[in-house]
């Protein structure tokens, strides 16, 4: 049932994006040829159009493209002159490193912040955490990136300004340390902002849990403080937090787009922006599909974590 829904959604997204892209005012041939446009005569234009199948009706083009996609062929990126699949594959690795680190870091730190705020509800610690989170939720990601860049790269000079790998170094010569060094600032940016959501949700949820009848009863049995949290708070609040974190893949991707742009980090986000700016239709379509799948995987994991971790669904299945 769920998978049927996902397939229909994915097909619809492919179709809609395809139609949108086809209706764009950007001339795909010009986008392909780029600066050499002047040297290309009308006959050559036609040849290229024919080669790309651009002279056929849109719906036929869609089916051609669609069947190629099903066969695993997303076409060739116009800007990178490389199969889209390869571009995405390479960059996905970079983005994954970025998103995964930020995801883990913000998840853990945010959870702890939420727990501390809720257990100290009404105190100054709680107020500071709340204020911080609400402020972060209103902070433009790219501006935070710029701040981080100014402080750590420009003022302190601890990090290079931008580029996923040092400029002028061959890909093979890039060491793991280089990569990690270039990863730190974007991860920091995304994590600083990413904690807000988890922290606020965890705080609210834990406050609800601590006011629930079963915690009242636990208190009536003499439990208090850390024991109370450990026995009843943690187990009731961890699951929603994990689910929330998985369901936030969509925002994570959006954040990565901005952070990669600010730090010139060669990931999927940067490729998306490039594709949009320079009219690389196959790459843009490929990225739309890929980001959708990425979001689906997040939702799937969220569902799965419920199935596995929540006894109310787990035991019923047995």
């Amino acid at each position: 049932m769920k998978s049927v829904r996902m397939v229909t959604l994915l097909v619809a997204i492919c179709l809609i994006s395809f139609l949108l892209v086809k209706n764009s005012p950007i001339d795909p041939i010009q986008a392909y040829i780029g600066a050499d446009m002047l040297k290309v005569g009308p006959e050559q234009r036609e040849k290229i159009a024919e080669y790309w199948g651009l002279d056929e009706p849109v719906i036929v083009q869609f089916f051609n493209w669609g069947s190629a996609v099903l066969a695993g062929d997303l076409g060739t990126s116009m800007i990178y002159r490389q199969p889209v699949i390869e571009v995405i594959g390479e960059r996905f690795f970079n983005s994954l490193a970025l998103m995964l680190s930020a995801w883990l870091l913000s998840g853990v730190v945010g959870f702890v912040m939420g727990v501390v705020a809720a257990m100290k509800k009404g105190t100054w610690i709680d107020r500071i955490i709340k204020w911080y989170c609400f402020t972060l939720a209103s902070t433009p990601t790219f501006w935070m990136g710029l701040l981080v860049l100014m402080v750590f790269a420009v003022w302190l000079g601890w990090f290079p300004i931008g580029m996923g790998v040092p400029a002028g170094v061959l890909a093979e010569d890039v060491t793991l340390m280089d990569r990690i060094q270039h990863l730190i600032l974007p991860v920091l940016t995304l994590s600083i902002l990413g904690v807000a959501n988890v922290a606020l949700h965890t705080r609210q949820k834990l406050i609800d849990v601590m006011a629930s009848d079963y915690v009242l009863f636990a208190r009536a049995r003499g439990e208090k403080g850390f024991v109370l949290f450990w026995r009843h708070g943690l187990r009731n609040v961890a699951l929603p937090a994990i689910t929330l974190q998985f369901a936030a893949f969509s925002e994570l991707f959006g954040g990565a787009v901005l952070a990669e742009q600010v730090f010139s980090y060669p990931g999927l986000g940067q490729a998306t922006v490039e594709a949009g700016l320079r009219g690389d239709v196959p790459l843009l379509l490929g990225l739309v599909i890929f980001s959708t799948i990425f979001v689906f995987v997040g939702n799937l994991l969220a569902d799965l974590s419920y199935r596995v971790l929540d006894p109310r669904t787990r035991e019923v299945r047995k």
Binding site: I13, S17, L20, S24, L146, L147, V257
Partner: protein
Amino acid sequence: MIKKFPLNRKQRTLVKIIISIIFLVTVILGGVLLDEDKIVTNLSERNSAPSLEHLFGTDWLGRDMFTRTVMGLSLSIGVGLIGAIGSASIALLLGMAAATMGKMADRIISWVIDLFLSVPHLVTLILIAFTLGGGFKGIVIGLTLTHWPSLARVIRAEVMQIRSAEFVQVSQKMGKSRWWIAVHHILPHIVPQLLIGFMLLFPHVILHEAAVTFLGLGLSPHEPAIGIILSESMKYLSSGMWWLAFFPGLCLLIVVRTFDQIGENLRVLMDPTRNHD
């Protein structure tokens, strides 16, 4: 301290909302009324750091950053307003339709909602901006189309709940028309939800506008938008001109935070379950 303010929590919340609105109106008016002369090129005052004369400093063309920022904020709020109104309208329409027009409509609309939530917002915005060739039209349509789903869900749930309430059932039995019921029973109940939802949409819309513009796919570089100011500032970061990025972003943050606060405070005022606490 509490003695000095003989207001209870609800009244204090109301005061906060009013102050926030006054602040936002000032910013909008500031953007409209500010002297455009201050942002003409003035090469004798290039790249100056913040001072009393130029609170936020000047840029590489000697333009006053304070003026540019206020105009940018005003523009952001304007674009945000259009986008949020558009989104809220779609949400209202589809939310009501899903709740009142039968099972099939409900299924279709929830499918469409899922459709819009399946692609990261920013990617959708880039796609739409690309299709419409960027610019004002592209960004406004993109913002309108991407921000309605969550509010639509809230409205759908709310309408469903009201429809099953007793007084509506009674009206139905009395043979009142669908429209009569919608206008007399349902609308008054969802107006608060809509208002709160609308206020809480606003920050997202503004932030996304600034982000897309920053990426170069939104408002054109000739507009005095915050996204443009920040993306231009990137070129000057390494030369230590921190004020180019710092103040405009901070002001955007404050404006967005203010909208968010109004939304949250409205919720405190209107949500009956928060009457205790």
